[in-house]
Symmetry: C2
Subunit: 210 residues, 2 copies
DNA sequence: GTCTATAGAAGGATAGAC
DNA sequence: GTCTATCCTTCTATAGAC
């Protein structure tokens, strides 16, 4: 027969994205073949090209959708937060950890596979990544200006916070000694320390951001 | 002629490692072909197999050598440090940043290409990576026990510090507004804050490490 | 909507000349 | 020590049957 019994274009498209996400995260974009993806989806390799023009677009769309959802989710969260910069920062920390642990594959791809994007696609994703980091930067600047924070350096603090938070997904397995809530509290504790330490050596703090 | 004029086995072996390191860091292990490496070295693809049994070994040896040098360098550094845990921690921060910025390619490979190692090779590298992280863990435990630090959580503090320090190599270009010395001071400032913040929420601090 | 079949390029690795 | 030539596999992507 020509058509698989019970075949469904919408469903196959969804499964293609899911399979590609899973495989790219596990083995890396360059190491995964379209045949592998097709096997995971349960169709032949040729059929994939009904749903994506090529492999590169598959990668780009995974990243692009992820960044859009990340930005959108944070904006929705922030809209409901009243309070000073510390309150916003705490919200950001919780949000970032929780969002990233729920999307381990997408986040992993989004920052491991940047070099496998074409230059054009890279520029698009990079802009969104910078926009997200800028949202943290805004909070840090606000808190530094108001005296709520004492940053060592505004820009490097945002880099450091993003790096340490994103690092959670490199070791979190969900079955360890710590619950998600505990992890959030611990990282919150560390971030509070990190933004409260600016001292005599912090010449330039608050300057030079972005 | 059969042999390239001025050809030299020792030199070619060195250049092979250098070229592989450069290319793997830039494009990723899976995306780089032996022919590409050969071109970079200036020989034909077949000649590479005089110096490495296969591509996998090339990757493994880059990582393995890097980890050995990292561990060896840190042990040499630590031997010359007298002082409390804070002094050791400051030394570690400076050491880690400086070492990693001088070996951008190797560090990038060592943590981006772990999944392209065979299971056997992965286990070997992972053990050395854990050993290195354990060295920071020892310092944190010492400082927490002596009361010099007030950690939010011993294990997660070490993860966070490693993540933020290693993150430097993702943005450092060497031509920015900050000198290497300034970067070290800023990260030192942030790390001091991070290890000095343990408060009421740090139940379990100092427990459960490794 | 999915299949089989295949084109055309590129991959890792080896053999044997020089 | 390096080259050329090549084996064999695998890849992305397309064509056309059903």
């Amino acid at each position: 027969m020509a058509r698989k019994s019970g075949s469904d274009g919408k469903k196959t498209a969804r499964e293609l994205r899911a399979a590609a996400t899973r495989l790219f995260a596990k083995f890396g974009y360059a190491a995964v073949s379209m045949r592998q993806i097709a096997t995971e989806v349960g169709v032949q390799a040729g059929a994939l090209y009904l749903y994506t023009p090529d492999k590169q677009t598959l990668l780009f769309q995974i990243m692009d959708r992820h960044m859009d959802e990340l930005l959108e989710a944070w904006r929705a969260e922030l809209a409901g937060v009243a309070g000073d910069a510390m309150a916003k920062l705490e919200h950001f920390v919780r949000f970032h950890i929780r969002f990233h642990l729920n999307r381990g594959d997408e986040i992993f791809i989004s920052y491991m596979e940047l070099r496998n994007l074409t230059p054009e696609n890279f520029a698009l994703i990079e802009a969104k990544r910078r926009a997200y980091e800028g949202l943290l930067g805004d909070i840090l600047q606000e808190g530094n200006a108001s005296g709520r924070f004492a940053l060592c350096d505004t820009k490097l603090s945002s880099y450091a916070i993003i790096a340490m938070l994103t690092g959670v997904s490199t070791w979190y397995k969900g079955d360890g000694r710590l619950s998600l809530d505990q992890i959030e509290e611990i990282y919150l504790c560390m971030v509070r320390g990190l933004v409260s330490q600016g001292g005599p050596i912090s010449a330039g703090a608050g300057k030079g951001f972005m």
